[in-house]
Symmetry: C2
């Protein structure tokens, strides 16, 4: 095995049942690293423009990066990309776990999937071998069942399974991929695409190890992380409270989206805090391959302990879930939220989109656009804890109004009519995650211009760059040449640069196969300058931050090319009506996105990125990035 | 003293005889590093558009960078920038020596000089103090005399002196700055500017040391250099043969400009090789502050040993001098070339421009445009060794035809008329250095678009990127994301990217105050990835190649803004007629620059750089670089 990569891309044609292995070579891996940049290379070259997202022409790429599988924190990430059935634009979703490292151990860097199988199948990859197997017996099974059945039938207790649940089979537009029963490639409906292909699961197991060019240098970096964790309260808190540990901060700053984005404060926020979870239903923390951060939650509610039981094999809610299922819906019942989270993982639903879609429906209900006649009698009001659990189930199974809501808020609003669009809080059809563009202004810009819709993991958030960031936070961001902090609610030239640079940087992380919580740039275990060191130690390449940033820029530009090919550019780089409606209550009372400021920033962002006024990459920018082939696709 | 910088910019108004010290602070130094980026900040902000290069409004900035003075090889560089009297565009010249480090030790990062002194003066900087002193007694003195007199009168045997010679006093348009009697800020007439200001010298002495944030990390880097020199033949050859060691390679590849650019091969090349110098007139090698490369030559010819004596205090000829005074003029007499070199250093003339201007005059003479009536009887023919020595003297003193040639080839050609322009081989009025754009095609592009005219030290040369580069050479360039070597004579998209990226990189070196022979990128002591490590070790900043490259891009963009303000853009990004005339003989027989290829590459280069079709930086590009203030200057 080469240092850092296997040089083995598995290409699967599900229509023909054909498997092929491609070895693009070291120069290719250095140019793309893996992950989303690699995926975009294959997607653009193998998918025709205008493909039906649920048809055989859609290409789903599941990929890891050159860092994946190395024995260092934040290494084990899997990226999924395809045309999104939710947005019609490029789709993108990332997850952690043990599956990503195991894919490398099994001898593969990526799986490029096209076609459509006539019957349910699963992929079985083990030590360099790849097989397509019948999955008829798994079809319809929940994620936990499927994983257990596969472990048993393959007699591999250490098997790692990435799969869809019933939601993916039922083509819920925001169905996700689940691995380890509780790690989700959540956003933009990658599970729906996999379901449309009748691919139930990708089971992997391997005993190989990717080569490490300089094990001593890698060990030194590992040691630095261990030492840093001993003294850094931020990293320690990630283990203690998980991502839910930020919920209190969000509330304090008026940044906790509440009742479908009507307010930035939620009166019952204390029930949902990571600290509360740690004191009540938390069973243990959990982690990804080789990671010492241990941010993952495992919660449990046993029979008789609450209104619902919560099965620990499905993990526990992240901050995003606590807010989308909680404050978005006005629900302050932690067990209800944990149960909804369990169901999402059990059925393979994106918790963000699911919670946000329920909140949208509640807003419609509260405003009389939906009634109990539409909801099988459910009082779909903000604060109804039973409703979030019930609706999650109905969406996964497309029962009753769940069938409509399974299409996502934009499509549902169009069907409901009567001005329901004003309650749909999406960019490009993908619901807002739980960070508020009204007060984090650069994030608002990114929500709009991001090729795969509103996303909170595609750039640094404004608060990392705010004057109240610590010296060390500031020191870390500074490696990207960001030297002048600005308050979160400002969207000036420096903030646009911040948005652009950090968006490129996050694409680098998603290409290298690395976790933002470890390598991102602010309060993480390592700052950005550690990544070139890690990539150099692993691959032996004399690489640099400059070279790595260019890979991220490549990934982002290729996504813009994909969208342009689909007729998606400035016309869909927009924010929904609710972003411009002033919030009510708390520190952000009266605050809304300033439309003029937003439009000015968007134009500036395009220009800084080297794109035309319509947000399409210029030939020169693509040529600078060694992507002339992509410019040819645009007929430039 | 802060780590890496003194935070003391000396501002001198020579008209008023006023000295001020400005402390722009750490953020400023991190944004500009020093050198050319820092200089452009001051020049653009303090010089009005349309200033007379020889008038009081011209601003001359002499600066070093954050690495300067640290105890590591390649640290001791001084940059000089002002409006060039030779080109009318921005001027730029770099030199090594001990003066740069001493300026830091004396407590200054840069000197910003404006106005015009009514009488000759010199600056005396010592341990944080700055004084303007009368220099009437030094005016008219040769560089060696001046330095000795200053050492004596200030009673400072360790004094470092940067100065002009008689050529600068006489306003020879390509007069240079000399330090250590033999190190030259050669190009674009910075000595002429200093002469016009009646500033004879800047004498410095200090016992301070810039702080080092992490001495152990710096020492580790030093050690790596020591180890590398033990095994690397290229670095060893730099000590053995100096830059003249490349002359044989140039001849073999048909890249040795001969008889005013009529051919790429010179039949007497062996006489001029660094190897020949080492066997004959070389007295010893020499170096700059703390540098183990030791590329500098000291040559000596004593009374009776040759036609001319050569005084060792003036050093020895570089490759550029061996070719401009030698092959350019068809002169294969090493002692004559060494003598001409001595005179250039003695009088303060740029050896490249002087040799190239003599070659131009010889071409005019050979073609009957000049006759002995114009030349005081000198047979100004190619191959006339006496003539190069005599003409150097006449130019410095503006005697006879020397007065015309002191204006540079473009101005002289205009005066001579009769089509003499075809023999002037300049970009923006600055003569070609001895690397051939006819076969190094990306270098040809850079000659044309470089803001300060034809220059060989503003980007990597094509051969560093050619397929015959060694693995280690290639490994070093790869840190800038340059992964696909191309033959030297190709000017495709990758070559344009190579030109653009490495030009930014060289501007980074010129801002950090570092030497390309140590940090550049191919066969040097360190590759590019060492520079962020060095800057971090010295300053304590968590910096990266990304951040450092952006500083270089800043420097280059500011120079383009300066030129645009002067009406200089695409209109002067051109190559002279001779570049398109096929060469004769040797491996490059019949080779010329392809005009269509060149123009296509220029347009592509502008677009990659984020400039408009006229080669002017866009507002968005300047904003991306945190230079909105410069965009305001262009009224964009």
């Amino acid at each position: 095995m080469s240092n850092g990569f296997c040089d083995r891309i598995l290409k699967v044609d599900l229509t023909k049942g054909k498997l092929e292995i491609e070895s693009p070579g070291e120069k290719f891996f250095r140019k793309y690293l893996g992950g989303s940049a690699l995926a975009m290379h294959y997607i653009l070259n193998e998918m025709p423009a205008g493909a039906d997202p649920l048809g055989p022409d859609n290409v789903l790429v599941i990929s890891v990066g050159v860092v994946t599988g190395a024995a260092i924190s934040g290494n084990s990430r899997v990226m999924a990309n395809a045309k999104s059935p939710l947005t019609g634009a490029i789709g993108d979703a990332q997850a952690g776990g043990f599956w990503p490292a195991e894919l490398k151990f099994a001898g593969f860097d990526a799986i490029v999937i096209k076609g459509q199988s006539p019957k349910p199948v699963y992929l079985w990859l083990h030590d360099g071998q790849a097989e397509l197997r019948d999955a008829s017996h798994l079809w319809g099974k929940e994620t936990g069942e499927t994983e257990d059945m596969l472990k048993a039938e393959l007699n591999e207790p250490k098997l790692q399974v990435l799969q869809i649940g019933p939601a993916g089979e039922n083509l819920v537009k925001y169905a996700c991929l689940i691995n380890n029963k509780n790690r989700a490639n959540g956003r933009t409906g990658m599970g729906c695409v996999m379901g449309s292909k009748k691919l139930k699961a990708i089971a992997v197991r391997g005993t190989g190890k990717p080569g490490i060019a300089d094990p001593e240098a890698l060990k030194a970096l590992v040691k630095e992380g261990v030492e840093w964790r001993k003294i850094d309260v931020g990293v320690q808190n990630m283990q203690k409270y998980g991502t839910g540990g930020v919920l209190g901060y969000q509330q304090q700053t008026g940044g906790l989206p509440t009742r479908n984005w009507s307010s930035g404060v939620f009166e019952e926020y204390k029930n949902l805090m990571g600290e509360t979870m740690a004191e009540t239903i938390l069973k243990e923390d959990d982690t990804c391959h080789a990671c010492i951060v241990r941010c993952k939650r495992v919660v449990e509610v046993k029979e008789g302990e609450g209104k619902w039981t919560v099965d620990p094999q499905y993990g526990g809610p992240e901050y995003e879930t606590l807010s989308t299922m909680g404050s978005y819906c006005g629900v302050g019942d932690l067990i209800a939220v944990a149960k909804a989270n369990e169901l999402c993982n059990r059925y393979g639903l994106d918790t963000i989109s699911t919670g946000a879609t329920i909140a949208f429906a509640m807003d419609c209900f509260e405003n009389g656009l939906l009634t109990t006649a539409d909801t099988d009698g459910i009082e779909l009001r903000f604060g109804n804890a039973e409703a979030i659990v019930k609706m999650t189930e109905m969406i996964a199974k497309r029962q009753g109004i769940g069938d409509l809501l399974a299409e996502g808020p934009d499509a549902a609003a169009a069907e409901i009519g009567k001005g329901a669009e004003q309650y749909s809080v999406c960019c490009k059809g993908s619901p807002f995650p739980a960070h508020m563009p009204q007060y984090k202004r650069s994030l608002g810009l990114i929500y709009a211009v991001n090729p795969y819709g509103a996303d909170h993991q595609t750039s640094e958030h404004d608060h990392a760059y705010a004057p109240d960031a610590s010296d060390e936070q500031h020191r870390r961001s500074s490696a990207l040449g960001l030297l002048s902090p600005r308050p979160a609610h400002v969207l000036d030239t420096e903030k646009v640069r911040f948005a652009w640079y950090t968006q490129c940087w996050y694409h680098t992380l998603n290409s290298a196969g690395t976790c933002q919580f470890v390598w991102g740039g602010t309060w993480q275990l390592y700052g950005p300058t550690a990544l070139p060191r890690a990539v150099a130690a692993i691959t032996g390449w004399n690489t640099s931050m400059w070279e790595l940033m260019k890979v991220g820029e490549r990934s982002l530009n290729l996504m813009r090319v994909f969208n342009a090919r689909e007729g998606i550019a400035k016309n869909r780089d927009v924010l929904p009506p609710k972003a411009f409606v002033p919030l009510k209550g708390g520190p952000t009372d009266g605050v809304a996105v300033d439309k003029e400021e937003f439009e000015r920033a968007r134009a500036q962002y395009y220009a800084m990125a080297g794109w035309d006024e319509n947000g399409v990459p210029t030939r020169a920018k693509l040529e600078e990035l060694d992507l002339a082939w992509a410019a040819d696709m645009l007929g430039k």
